[in-house]
Amino acid sequence: MGKLYFKKSSKEAKNVQPQPAKETIEFLLNYSKALEVVEYRNMKFETLLN
């Protein structure tokens, strides 16, 4: 019965804060590096350089 009330794992789970994946952050940083906004007269064009 004791084991039923043993909540160590759920406490540990609570301490883990949700975080975005590393890949997502990497993607965003690479996207930022690749994105260039070109201004022509009153217009702005976005270009993605690979």
Binding site: P18, Q19, P20, L28, L29, S32
Partner: protein, 194 residues
């Protein structure tokens, strides 16, 4: 450690001047809070990931287009974008409910043609005729609006034009019609479901 001394505003300025590392600092500084906020609304890791990514794509595009003008309020601005994208997500899902394939796969949920079988068809017809009788007990003005809205599929604008009352009045009459209809159903102890 040094990052905490630099303000968001100056990091944004650095980024706008071409320092890509400034964006990395901004993201790592706020990722936890923004991601947790999104996750607390959608309760799904993959969707949170998508919305988090879309949020920063929007941030990056806005900054690079020179449209950012909320200096010193970077985090609230990003949180607002995330919030709007969460709302968009729920709106989209409401409009196009996705097929949830988690758990046991039930082929009949896909193959069902949506038609009623003989029994449910009879029950449906019975309910419809009962409701048509019940609505006759409504006051004339409410009955008129309800009939136009439900049976003639008219918009409230059209109802307003036709009946010569304001849209708000038409909406109010519809509301009271439904309230009264529920009261009638309760009073008669009717069960109008199949």
């Amino acid at each position: 450690m040094n990052n905490t001394k630099v303000t968001d505003a100056s990091l944004v300025r650095d980024y706008l001047e071409g320092n890509e590392n400034a964006l990395g600092t901004l993201i790592s500084r706020h990722q936890q809070r923004i991601y947790s906020f999104i996750y607390s609304k959608v309760y799904d890791k993959d969707i949170s990931e998508d919305i988090f990514q879309d949020t920063f794509i929007k941030v990056i595009r806005t900054l690079k287009r020179g449209k950012y003008n909320e200096e010193g309020k970077f985090l609230p601005w990003v949180m607002r974008i995330a919030h709007n994208l969460v709302i968009d997500h729920f709106r989209r899902n409401k409009r196009m409910p996705k097929f949830d394939n988690s758990g046991d796969f039930n082929i009949f949920s896909v193959l069902s043609d949506g038609n009623h079988n003989a029994e449910t068809q009879i029950i449906k017809e019975q309910i419809e005729s009962d409701v048509q009788e019940l609505i006759k007990e409504l006051p004339e003005d409410q009955l008129e609006v309800l009939t136009m809205r439900i049976y003639k599929d008219m918009s409230f604008k059209e109802i307003s034009d036709r009946t010569g009352v304001s849209i708000n009045t038409a909406l109010g009459r519809m509301r009271y019609a439904l309230i009264n209809l529920r009261k009638i159903i309760e009073k008669r102890n009717l069960i109008l479901t199949n």
